[in-house]
Structure formats: C-alpha cells, structure tokens
Symmetry: C2
Subunit: 340 residues, 2 copies
C-alpha cells in the first residue's frame, strides 16, 4: 500500500452548460470514500447518450458535468471496506449503482466549483471516483450484446427498430445470438441497413421507400406482427411504431433509446388490451458483477465480435472531433485513447 489516497488532478472533458462543446480542463478528483473505487480510465467511446446530454435534450441532465459512460480502465485506489478489487486491476465501469454512495460529487474544477457525474461513470483523463468494482476486461466497450437478455425466449422473429447505430447493431447481433429466426432491420439509411447484414439481420426495411406507416408494412410482412420490437432511437414516434408493429397476444416492445425532454410516447390502450407489452431496457438488462464477466468471456472466446463495432480510433484531445464522427454514417464507435 502506498498510503491513504489523496485528491489528484486530472484532465477531463467538461460540458459547462447545455449546448456547450467539450472543454478539456484540469479537475480535482477527491479520494474514494468508504465503499468507493477510483479508476484510471484507459479507453473510452463517445455515445449518443452523452451527445444528447451535451446538446441539452436529456430531461434529467445537470451541468456542469463530465460526460462519458463507455470506458475501461484500471483501479487506481480503493476506499475503506472495498474487498472486491485491488489497485491495478482492469475494470469496466458500468451504469448500475456507480454513483457516489452519498449522492455528492467527487469532481471539482480547479476553482473549487462542483462538477456533476454522469450516469455514475464520468470520464476524466485518467481517473474517476466510483464505488464498487464491476468486472474486468481489457477491451474497450461493454455495451455490445444489448438485448440478449430481453430477447429470450425468441419464438418467431424480431424487429430491431432502430437507426442502426452501435446499439441497434448490437441489438441485431444479440437477437441473432439468441436464435431469432427472422431479424428485420429498420433504418432510414441504406448504408446502415447494409452493415446490419454483418451482424445477423435477415430483412431490411427503409421507411422512406413506403407510403404507409412502417408498422403497417411490418404487420403485413409478418402476417400479424413481430414477437419483439426493439426501439433504439430515442424518437417517441419510433417507440409508438415499435409497439404497433408487434403481434397481438404476446408482442413485446422494448424502448432502448433515451427520449428527448418533453417528448412522450402515445398509443391506443387497445394495443395493450389485446396482449401487447411495453418495457424499457438499460444496458440490455445485464447485471454488472454477475453478467459482465460472462460477456467478457464471450468476447475473449470470439463469440462476440466486439472489434466490429470499433470503426475509428482517436486521441482524447480530439474529443470534439470524435463526437462529430458520431453523426457520420460510417462510424459505429470511435475508441479514444485517454492517455493521448
């Protein structure tokens, strides 16, 4: 042991207010308190969930904050009572239960202004204050097999309803691995539809090619609707489409995307009365300590092709460029090296 952990100074990408670009600045990171762990972040990926908070359309957003929630790193120091990990261990911080236990922040600006955490997994240039060890893995991102758990058991078919970004494609892959017979991919971008084939998609629909509501197209195509529909856009109209594209009796629509502030999902209650269900999914329903090691094993064994999602690499100092890349069709995930 090198003694008690102390406050350290790191570089972090801070969003000072809604709509502001990422500003790389030095921040103070307080030492981990009882039950908490401080992690040196090695790699991180920008995600649309960060981006909608940066833009200011996430209804739950608070500022200033350090965004980022897809990362991996190494335990730097541990607080009192932590027995689940040791300094030096490789870990993936996850969303579930990773905010400081006392609901305060461990981040401050050099001037002492408090900075909010984001999804409990805020990224700084090297260190984060978190409680609890999640799991270990040397790869870059954790959110690949989104939906594997929600999708079981798959009986007939599935429609990942999505702009086929990382989450949508992971949803396709998850459905494929779970044994879905038909995987209908929906996107208004033909390039993304073509990509989806690589991940296990079997049918491809571009709503722009149809004059009627896309749920009507799917109901006809499947002779009554799909068993599962995953919405991966955050668009409330698409959420409605997803509900209404599932079959009567047992159809399940799953909201995966984060809706914009003030937007609501609406539909006729009749759709539920006749047997449909609606639920949401965060991190695919995976439990961090129990499930992520199983996912890690699948990546190591080559069952999950994590590398397919990592289309670009950049330095942390290029963070604003990395977020611009997200808007471009050919980018699924850009891995940032936090040491550069």
């Amino acid at each position: 042991m090198s003694g008690e952990p102390r406050t350290i100074v790191c570089k972090a990408a801070v969003v000072m207010a809604a709509g502001q670009p990422f500003e790389i600045m030095e921040v103070n990171v307080a030492p981990p308190k009882r039950g908490e762990v401080r992690i040196r972040i090695l790699y991180a990926c920008p995600c649309h969930t960060d981006e909608i908070t940066q833009r200011g359309v996430d209804p739950t957003a608070v500022y200033p904050c350090i965004l980022g929630h897809e990362s991996c790193g190494q335990v730097e120091s541990i607080g009192e009572g932590v027995t689940t990990c040791k300094p030096g261990q490789k870990v993936i911080p996850l969303w579930e239960g990773v905010m400081p236990l006392d609901n305060t922040s461990r981040f401050t600006t050099k001037d002492g202004q408090s900075i909010y955490h984001f999804m409990g997994t805020s990224r700084s240039d090297g260190f984060m204050s978190l409680f609890g060890l999640i799991s270990w893995l040397s790869a870059a991102s954790h959110n690949t097999p989104w939906c594997l758990r929600s999708a079981l058991p798959l009986s007939r078919m599935i429609a990942p309803w999505t702009n086929l970004g990382c989450v949508g494609l992971a949803c396709v892959e998850g459905a494929h691995l779970a044994g879905a017979k038909e995987i209908i991919c929906v996107d208004i971008n033909d390039i993304k539809l073509a990509m989806a084939k690589d991940f296990g998609g079997t049918k491809f629909i571009n709503p722009k090619n149809y004059e009627k509501p896309i749920q009507d197209v799917i109901i006809e195509m499947t002779n009554g609707g799909v068993d599962f529909a995953f919405e991966c856009t955050g668009n409330t109209t698409v959420m409605r489409n997803a509900v209404e594209s599932t079959c009567k009796g047992w159809g399940l629509a799953v909201i995966v995307g984060i809706g914009e502030a003030g937007k609501e999902i609406s539909t006729r209650p009749y759709h539920f009365i006749v047997g449909r269900q609606l639920k949401g999914s965060v991190f695919g329903g995976w439990r961090s300590r129990d499930d992520v090691p199983k996912l890690a094993e699948k990546v190591i064994n080559g069952e999950l092709k994590l590398g397919k999602y990592c289309t670009h690499r950049m330095k942390f100092s290029q963070i604003n460029e990395a977020f611009d890349l997200l808007k471009r069709t050919e980018c699924i995930r850009c891995v940032m090296d936090m040491q550069q």
Copy 2:
C-alpha cells in the same frame, strides 16, 4: 336427439345504432353450424363494456348489435362435430374464441337484416349461437377474480387503480387472494372505497382529497411506488397515473378498462427505461376451458364470494333500467332473469 336444429325466434335487446336505447325485439337465430353451439341464456348482467358500446364510444363497435357478454345458460343444440358438450348442459359463454367460425352472424331481424354479435357472447332472450363449450357453472357471472393471474407473484403491494365497480372490486379480491400485503384502493367515490374493504382493500385514497397528482401521493405513501397497478376505468388519464405510480425496476401497470374511441395513453418513455412495464388484461388472462372450471370450483367451495357482487336483480324486460342502475354507486352487478 330431436333431429337437426332449425332457425328459432327469440327476444333480444338490440342496439340499432350508437347511442340508441336497448330495443327488445324478436330476432331469428340460425342453427349452429359445424363446431358451433347454441345456448339458451338463463341469466345475464349488464356491464360498462356493453354500455360504452351502446353509447358509441368503443372504437371497435359495429351496429346493429346484440350486446351482453356476462351470462350463463344451457346448451340448446349443437352443430356437427361438437364433442365437448351436450344439449342441456349448463355453460358460461366467454369472450375467448366464441365468434362464429366463419366470421358471419347467426342473428337477423324478422325482416332479415343481419345483426352483429358482440364479443362473441351476445345475449338474446333465450338463445345464442356460439362455437365451443366453455365450462359449466350455475352462477350468474364469470368475471370475479379478474387479475389473480396477472398479479402473481405479489411481492410488496398492489394498487388496484380503479373506479371500484365490479372489475375494480374483483381486482381487489383477486389481489387479496393472491396474497398481496397491501392493497391500495383508489376511487373518487367514498362509498365505493368503503365497499372495497369487504373485498380485501387495506388502504383507501380519494384523489379529490389531494391537491397533487395522485401518482405522487402513492409514490410517497409507498416510498417509491407499487409493484402492480391495475387500471379499471378505461380512462386514459388514469392509465397514465397507474404507470407512473408503479416503482422503478419492476413495477407493472395493467390496463383492464376499455379506452374510449380516439383517446390515447401517453407518458414519458423514461418511466419504462428505468424498469417499469405496461400490459393489458382481458378477462384477467384466464383461459376459458382450462381455467374457468377452477374458478367455478372456488365459487362452489366458497373461496370466491360471487354473491357479494350481485347487488340487484331484475327482469330482462327491464334492461334499460338495469343499465341505468350501472351508473348508481350502490350497484355492483344487476342479475337479469332472461325468462322474465
């Protein structure tokens, strides 16, 4: 056998168009076709589901039609190939799978105009044409233990969110029998709230006594929300309240009421992302042939107090009065004798 069944003439309460009162008239009832059963209805109860169709606010309604779906009777004759029942047997027609197999009607006016069935269980003065035997039972109504099936397993508490009519009270009783520890009853009518105590309710809330949204009251009262919320009104605002009164993580809201035409349920997608679910329930999810005999046994054994729901009795000729009674607080169910 008394030979082939023939068309018979019966009295029926017909709604000729939306908003029209029930008109008792003679109708022709065609003989049962292959796989169908014709039933002499002995007793029937008016229900709000009939009433919203009579008023014209059910989006799926078609006219003219013979309403009614809560009844019991005796098999009058059977079509070719029917092996599950015999003439004379006591039966309860249920909604599930009881429309004529060929999607046509067995009812016509004396002038030959076709009359629609309603929920497959239309009531006439003595005879109905249905396919399939459901079950037998000499009592008057079948919809008591609504929700027993949907409610299991009950872990913490349940809020049957309801105007405590027959369905709402049955929901309370179902939750009680299923072992719910706390049963929160919500109604804007104090008399109904008092009734709910008899059926197993443990807490009673009248939204008129609060200035804030009732879901906020429930969230506070339960320290985070209920495990299950059953909406039994058909009011889309109450459906939203029900969703938003369930707890994060696993809260399940169940829509039981039939929404009015053109009305939609809306809520923030965030409520689902954090773990809530929404589904519907028809006939409590019971399967007719498999489950209703089990319910009948519970009534016969005294486990289900069906008699408590039958607050009034009338003659079939008083059908319009019976429907007026539905609007009065003290009436739960009015049993009509179809022979009078």
